[in-house]
């Protein structure tokens, strides 16, 4: 995502909404560029080996459509020679270029290729691509984009290879290609007279000229063997259960050393002096290496500090702990969480920078019979992925080899090259499995550290962060205060709507802190609100970052959904209305929101062309009604139990969540049942969608009840799972039911990794209120409401 962010920053600083191909906001809509024209334009892109075009009269099973993939760095590459290899024994090796951190993308993306080429998945092997975007296309595995951007290119390559195999078989048999058909790993004569395995014609097939797009045929949905079925397990499932799966730290190189780093507690503090006397006494410790620090905006530059190099990880950590370091002061040493929250609340009460205005909200509020308003707070949070950061680097004779769990392998490669003053062509990045990512592993400071240490000591090194390092050296999810105001007329009708967000921006990592939420973050539930009130304003209050603000799974959608969806339930209660009915009423009539009329022309639409991926309130209403129906909204529940609802569109996917809570006599909250309704367009892998929703429920419960990164005098006071707790199996939300709205392939696939998270916390808080009358407006609120 971040190089996409950099493009967005550039566009914003240039005072443009965005260049058409760097930030395809509402491009198609605004410029009234037809889909056909758009395709022709993007088809001209040099990075595409095959252009995706609509050819009149071709027998397509679906209409290809443009996506934001063409606005990403290095776009897409559609070249079977790069992604497909077929051995003479029939083994098909597919290159998978997205990082695997739990969503199943490493499996689901090439599965689309295998399906379209009629490969038998049991004879498919996967090869993980190294970081090389000119070769593979964009590899940034974040923003919930893997299937959304790659289903079509994979299918196109699959269709190409299938045709090449058919052509090779037809040639071998001396018949016209129209008489043969590829099916389940072999090509046969349609009359059943002959058949031949893929492997036997592979060499000839792969030497064929790449077919023209108009000669390709695509499967109809009912011909899919794997897509949409959810029957193929993750490629690494067996290895994961036997301990053979390889994560970041699971590689050993000859002569490899081990390192741990002492980093400053406060961002920007520098080493004044270091005493390594005690550290050097630890058995196994060999030397120390200083790492230069940085002050934001410094992108992903290391925090700096002192690395201890040893002959095993344990010795390195013990040595690191034994260092005596004097740190300099930093301008951020005055940052205190509680005081900063008070500042944000004060700012939220004052007029902010207007990001979107419809109708005349000022008049609506001035003339209102009554104004109902509330504020909702969310602290900084940290990813706490299970695998602490780690990287292996080997610098030798001007070349650098890296093995690391990274979400952006090409970004890690270019950023590390830049940090070491190298040409990226001299740097190689191999991607392991990621033990969780959630956005943290998009930021490659840990990779740069390993590379710097390896170069300094002249040996390969495995640089391991501890849990404490991970908690304290984060790129934290933004903190926020969301203030919501509703203007009510004498009939209690909502005639004015104000949403003011005060939240430091992640742009502060990249450029001098603009002090306001960016267009990108504004597009995550603030500016793009589906609320259909006629007089509406979205504002940003100023807030400057005092730590490294990064993105966390679903980004600013978390605080926005928390604020908006809690507020609507509060408003419903105030007006004596049902919260679900109130939510649907506020969203208003079914419509695809017209971004020009709605003053959203600069809208960030997750990088997708708006015309193809509009904000469709009918689909939002659809998931709300589906979740409510499945959960039995309105039914009688035992004492102490109640339902809460919330819905949110993010990553162009619509999710509604109904949480059932049970509060016992001592105020302990448990969650016996949750229903999540998801409209993600065509669903490539329903089984992994369900697992993402189940996981999102757990993460949503964690952030609602537990997550708060606390700063005192600039330093994080949390350290490990005892003071940054996460939900465990003794309290997880039971029976998470995922209900997927079924669509054909023609309804564009949208994001899945992130959209399940935002609605959970407000649905939970709304349920707790319904059960107890106790309203929480500040996250986290703990697990006891007594």
């Amino acid at each position: 995502m971040y190089r996409h962010i950099e493009q967005a920053i550039e566009a914003e600083l240039n005072g443009e909404p965005a260049a058409a191909d760097s930030l395809p906001l509402a491009t198609g809509f605004i410029e009234k560029v037809s889909r056909r024209k758009f395709l022709k334009i993007s088809g001209g892109s040099a990075a595409m080996a095959l252009a995706m075009q609509i050819v009149p009269g071709s027998a397509l099973a679906y209409d290809p459509y443009p996506t934001g993939a063409e606005g990403m760095p290095h776009k897409t590459v559609i070249d079977p020679q790069v992604f497909v290899a077929i051995d003479a024994d029939g083994t098909v090796t597919l290159t998978t270029h997205r990082s695997e951190m739990g969503t199943g993308a490493r499996t689901s993306v090439p599965l689309a290729l295998a399906d379209e080429m009629e490969a038998d998945w049991s004879r498919v092997k996967l090869r993980q691509a190294e970081g090389d975007e000119p070769k593979y296309g964009n590899q940034d595995t974040d923003g919930s984009r893997s299937l959304r951007h790659y289903l079509q290119p994979m299918r196109q390559m699959g269709a190409s290879v299938r045709l090449m195999l058919e052509q090779a078989a037809a040639q071998k048999w001396g018949v016209d290609v129209s008489l043969v058909k590829a099916e389940n790993h072999e090509v046969h004569m349609k009359d059943g007279s002959k058949s031949i395995g893929f492997g036997e014609v592979a060499a000839d097939a792969m030497a064929m000229e790449l077919p023209a797009f108009e000669d390709l045929t695509f499967k109809t949905d009912d011909e899919f063997r794997y897509l949409g079925k959810g029957e193929v397990p993750m490629y690494d499932l067996h290895d994961i259960t036997t301990g053979k799966a390889r994560y970041g730290a699971d590689i050993t190189l000859d002569g490899m050393k081990f390192a741990a780093v002492a980093r400053p507690g406060v961002v920007g503090a520098k080493v004044i002096s270091v005493d390594d006397t005690e550290a050097m006494k630890i058995p196994g410790v060999e030397r120390i290496v200083k790492i230069a620090g940085s002050m934001p905006p410094a992108k992903f530059a290391p925090l700096g500090g002192v690395a201890v190099v040893a002959n095993n990880t344990w010795a390195a950590i013990k040595g690191r702990d034994a260092l005596k370091i004097e740190w300099s002061d930093s301008p951020h040493s005055t940052f205190n969480t509680a005081a900063y929250a008070d500042e944000m609340r004060a700012t939220a009460k004052k007029p902010g920078k207007v990001l979107r205005k419809v109708g005349d909200p000022d008049a609506a509020f001035a003339n209102a019979k009554r104004v109902f308003s509330q504020e909702y707070y969310q602290p900084h949070m940290q990813h706490a992925q299970m695998e602490p950061l780690v990287a292996v680097a080997d610098y030798k004779e001007g070349k650098l080899d890296i093995w690391a769990p990274v979400q952006s392998p090409y970004g890690a490669r270019t950023d590390t090259a830049a940090a070491l003053g190298m040409d990226p062509k001299d740097v190689r990045v191999e991607v392991s499995l990621l033990g969780g990512g959630f956005g943290r592993k998009s930021k490659c400071d840990y990779v740069i550290e390993a590379a710097l240490v390896s170069k300094e000591i002249g040996a390969p090194v495995k640089l391991q962060w501890t849990r404490e390092d991970d908690v304290r050296g984060g790129f934290y999810h933004t903190t926020s205060v969301e203030r919501l105001e509703a203007a009510l007329d004498s009939n209690d009708k909502v005639v004015g709507w104000r949403h003011r967000s005060v939240s430091p921006t992640l742009f502060s990592l990249f450029v001098e802190d603009p002090g306001h939420t960016s267009a990108l973050e504004g597009g995550m539930g603030l500016v793009d609100t589906p609320i259909g009130v006629e007089n509406l304003v979205a504002e940003s209050g100023e807030a400057k970052a005092h730590t490294r603000v990064g993105w966390f799974r679903s980004v600013s959608n978390i605080p926005r959904a928390w604020g908006v969806q809690s507020f609507i339930a509060e408003l419903a209660h105030d007006l004596g209305r049902d919260p679900k009915d109130m939510l649907i009423e506020l969203i208003g009539p079914d419509r695809k929101i017209d971004p020009v009329a709605a003053d959203m022309k600069d809208l960030w639409n997750y990088g997708e062309p708006y015309e193809e991926f509009p904000n469709d309130t009918a689909r939002l209403r659809g998931v709300i009604e589906l979740a409510a129906k499945k959960a039995g909204w309105g039914k009688d529940l035992p004492k102490g139990e109640a339902l809460g609802i919330a819905a949110h569109r993010s990553f162009v996917t619509y999710v509604a969540t109904v949480v059932r809570v049970k509060v016992d006599d001592n105020g302990n909250v448990s969650i016996p049942e949750t229903h999540m309704a998801v409209d993600c367009g065509f669903c490539g892998n329903p089984e992994r969608v369900a697992s993402q929703m189940e996981g999102a429920a757990v993460m949503g419960m964690t952030l609602a009840m537990h997550s708060s990164i606390n700063h005192e005098n600039g330093a994080v006071t949390n350290s490990n799972f005892h003071d940054y707790p996460v939900v465990r199996i003794n309290s997880y939300p039971k029976q998470v039911h995922t209900h997927i709205v079924e669509h054909p392939f023609s309804v564009h696939a949208t994001g899945i990794g992130e959209p399940g998270v935002p609605p959970f916390a407000p649905a939970l808080a709304n349920a707790i209120f319904a059960a107890t009358g106790k309203r929480y407006r500040d996250l986290p609120f703990g697990e006891n409401v007594g």
Partner: protein, 153 residues
């Protein structure tokens, strides 16, 4: 003095720092990477191994404290990776990122060895030492329950 230890049935001796935790010994010295580092403080369970058959956190367990004992890691749980718990994990498609799963499986295997008739509540209590940040708990619980019925039956 060198420490003798048996890991997955193989005898080893170690003459380095005897306070090295079993986690780092198996990972960095024996080069066996199935056992994972998660928190270093015994709170997450990613490093769970069996010591004489009992689930134990490898990150806090010094090698000298288990001298002469038998350590089993995920690699040694079953020669073919077909322990009932491993099979149940696959049948239920439990993992997401998978990083914590070796520890989860080792905890579950130990729990069911002790109590094959563990109730849902007992499973929750005894698996509560293993964190899964991806949030696979619903499937972990289902997998442990079905492994229990397989082991019982």
């Amino acid at each position: 003095m060198a420490i003798s230890i048996k890991v997955n049935g193989q005898e080893h001796t170690y003459d380095g720092d005897p306070s090295i935790p079993v986690l780092w010994y198996v990972r960095d010295v024996l080069d066996m990477h199935g056992t994972k580092f998660g928190c270093g403080t015994g709170q997450c369970g990613a490093c769970t191994v069996h010591v004489d058959g009992k689930a134990t956190r490898g990150c806090l367990l010094s090698l000298e404290s288990v001298a002469g004992k038998e350590i089993t890691t995920i690699e040694g749980l079953d020669p073919n990776g077909n322990h009932p718990v491993q099979k149940a994990w696959r049948a239920h498609n439990v993992p997401q990122c998978g990083y914590c799963q070796a520890g989860q499986i080792m905890s579950a295997a130990s729990l069911l060895a002790d109590n094959p008739k563990a109730s849902g509540e007992q499973i929750e209590q005894q698996m509560a030492g293993n964190i899964c940040r991806c949030g696979c708990y619903q499937r972990i619980q289902a997998a442990v329950e079905s492994a229990a019925s397989e082991m019982e039956g």
